[in-house]
Symmetry: D2
Subunit: 306 residues, 4 copies
């Protein structure tokens, strides 16, 4: 059974111009390029999309641009750590035709679990769109506990999926089984995708799929069809991408922007407090791409090409 | 030598009305009440002030209201995880007469240390106001490393203070010594204040000072004058307040709002995703206050009174 | 290709008599019972075997008893945090016919990685037996870093396997790929087995295989033959066993001993500082077993029976 | 009031000869040297004494040698992760005239809190000597929870002290207040001593006191007499020693052994799995000592001299 939003979702980066404004043409180009190169769906204005430094109008515009550029599921990262603000953003997402909402744990203000229930409930009630909950404690400072997920799923039919970036694989197994038939679980860490798939996750919200979308698709297919040998060979080839995509020195999405720049898809500017990729990171990107392309060829898997 | 902003700074909560709007009278009343009850200065729209759910106009209005209500150092929590946005907020803070800027680590987007340098540098360069850096990794997902502090202090004379809520006491000792004569370190965890004072911190940015401001002042005086016995007796009496002020079930500032409501200073509404204090928390607040008042009397220390 | 020591290894518990001495008959009975019920091999005097409270003569005697009782690979937990002591124990293990050595990270004294290289090298050089390295930082306070594994594998042909109980699934993927064709990786956390198998682990050193050995075998077979659906159904049934087998209140091996007692295989005494299973834990064991037996029947999988 | 065992206790290292045997003359020389240079008491065969690689007879011999060499409180690190074994060692400690027992949390086997109560109770009941409990979760993998301390203190009069190396300063404050008048708390991390003193700890079980015993004594005196300025100046001078005494590359006690070798007190051999100090570490030791000597002179504080 095909998952509602597809198997390989890409958390698309946001291209900027040299003056810091959104590169509208680049957005469309990047979206089309991703879909042409293995992405089944796109998550727009997620953390990889530098949501923290976008204003509301820009978020809406980005959803619209992507919506117009591609004909695949588009999820809008339309929530913040402010419930009321989130409800306004969701209306925007609906209006421009998003297919779903990615709802992240409120960050920084660290609400109690009862507050998470109230927050996500308000979001689910404010929209007819399907909602994907997003648990990423390393960024938010707060975990969504398993009973909180269960309570929300019992109450809101349109909460249909979870992006689990908790890094806790044993918990993922429990989550997947507890919510079996009720919610689709997506892996939120590229490096844990194969493990998550074995446990019943339906796919990934990926970063490295910016350049290796076909490989992620092939990995999912191989794993779900039971060809673990092939899945592992693909995963092995992606290990270097997992290390590249985020590090202390160059956290996500800086390396992804470097790669997009190197591949000529769009420019690689970021907004402060992130930093633009330095030459050495671009050089790493070039090298990584070449090696990956060479290795994947042996599996009959192509790379994203401009 | 008296620290620039005073010893006992309170991260003032933001009172709301039943309809969710800011309780403007409550703001003034609370600010005056805090200053009358032991606070040397106020940090407005910090995390305790529910900064995450305030819009820009509200922030500005809050700084203004507090500025008008009291005649003490007022620091504006005027930065977010967006450098450009922060620069606009800082202008507002200047215009309404704030005495300083509390600049928190960008949360959620987890910039590299080089990005932190760029972010805080932009802030320092955008204002003539003194700046207090705020390190609170449990909320932000990113630590400010010691070399980053040093670099910033070397470059920007108006970065004058640090609120250290890292919970890392051994690091605090190094920080204080490394920046001796250059920056004033404030403790950002009430429960660690006495330890920080012994290491050379100049004071606290406190939450429990909402109800125990005189006790914090007395604790600082006792510690700095070398009367550790007295400092410890006061600290002992505050242990219950430290446990009360934030918990998994009722994280900060929910308990503080319960206390302010119980004391009749202002209402105790919060904005979602936080939750309003339930009756049991109010009952805890009442009991805590009564016990603390009784115990502090033995030290000749009064409590905040309406 | 069948892994050298088999797929389902059980870290066998050590039965004691009421007077605290080793229940020699119980040891043989338990070993035979495990092998009759799904274990391919046995790890004797590991942490589940309460190695911390065994004296040298007892260790040797346990290896001997198990060696005599069963005809399957027997690995001796023959190392401590003392290199010289470990070398003596290894001689004992050789003399009584162990098939391999489980070599745990030195605990408590927290050696540097260079010390780990020296320690494990001394062990590998002291024996012709194959050695399985055992990384379990939650118990030892020290992790074996990936480069340390690589160095050891380069130097010592008889280091042939790793029991990875680090809990770090992303690292496991790297470890497995880095050492592909050189070392067999066993999962050291029952709850992570399915994830590890998907990444290329060859099996498990299990605790819950004391009562669910056939289920672990079926899980491994299903996963390795590509029937992930079945593997997941089995794993789902084992979730309750994962929670049961170790908790803050009753850490491993207390619950396993309760289960063995309830099943009539051997007594359930422990040595202090562990505690004997209280009646409530035995009751939990009974209930867990009954439910698991019922659920596994639907998969055509039997339980261990006395 | 002077604490029972003194303020500055040194966890004495164990000198070995080139052949790996105990350097008996070195032991006596080192013990005398420590007492002559600022130590009020000695903890023998603690983790700094490489307890993990000592056999029982060696432990007993070490307690005896130190007992004979010096006339100050001698605490014997006479417990392991095996209750029965610990009881035998305690008898040895009593027989050779130890003044107290340092009882560490059972490591590696991770007992439940109920098991800790049973273990430490058995120890307390087995001896008339005063007992110091030792909480060091980074080495043992298990924390002693506050209620466990309280239960033990209620039941056993001869449990009189705690060495807190948990690194949790907020907990230390609660521990000290909860057990005020009942137990003396020693800081188990040199770098946290000043903070602990401010909270009411009575002293330190130190490592760096091997070369800076007078400084630790002066730090304690200054803090307890209320001269925090001086305490801080001394602490500042010790920061480099805190960094030196344990690191990932050279964990404790390797740097201490290097220093003792450089100062000519005893040889610097370790037992595997620790490693002998390389020349670069000796060079660091020399440099550190020279700088510290120079800086402490300004405070009128001498260094340990051979």
């Amino acid at each position: 059974m095909t998952p509602r939003f597809g198997s390989v979702l890409t958390a698309i980066g946001t291209p900027f111009l040299a003056d810091g404004s959104i590169d509208e043409q680049g957005v469309g180009r990047l979206a089309q390029w991703l879909v042409a190169n293995g992405s089944d769906g796109l998550v727009v204005t997620g953390s990889t999309g530098e949501s923290g430094t976008l204003v509301d109008g820009e978020r809406r515009r980005l959803w619209q641009l992507v919506r117009e550029a591609v004909d695949c599921p588009v999820l809008a990262g339309a929530t913040t750590n402010d419930t009321a603000h989130s409800l306004r953003l969701i209306k925007d997402a609906e209006e421009v035709g998003a297919d779903g909402i990615l709802a992240v744990t409120p960050y920084y203000n660290r609400p109690p679990q009862a507050g998470l229930v109230a927050h996500f409930s308000a979001i689910a009630e404010a929209t007819a769109l399907p909602v994907m909950l997003y648990d990423i404690p390393a960024r938010t400072g707060r975990r969504i506990e398993l009973p909180t997920f269960v309570t929300l799923m019992e109450r809101h039919e349109n909460i249909v999926a979870i992006k689990d970036a908790s890094g806790d694989v044993a918990r993922a197994a429990k989550l997947i089984e507890t919510l079996r038939g009720r919610a689709e679980i997506y892996c939120g860490d590229d490096s844990l995708l194969l493990a998550f798939l074995s446990l019943g996750a339906v796919g990934v919200v990926s970063v490295a799929s910016h350049w290796a979308g076909f490989a992620f698709g092939a990995l999912v297919s191989a794993a779900l069809s039971g060809d673990l040998e092939r899945a592992r060979r693909i995963n092995r080839n992606l290990l270097a991408s997992y290390e590249f995509e985020s590090s202390e020195l160059y956290p996500n999405p800086i390396p992804t922007k470097a790669m997009m720049g190197v591949l000529g898809v769009c420019s690689d500017y970021t907004r402060s407090p992130l930093i633009d990729p330095p030459p050495e990171l671009r050089e790493q990107a070039r090298k990584l791409y070449a090696e990956l392309e060479h290795n994947l060829a042996a599996e009959g898997i192509g790379m994203a090409h401009a």
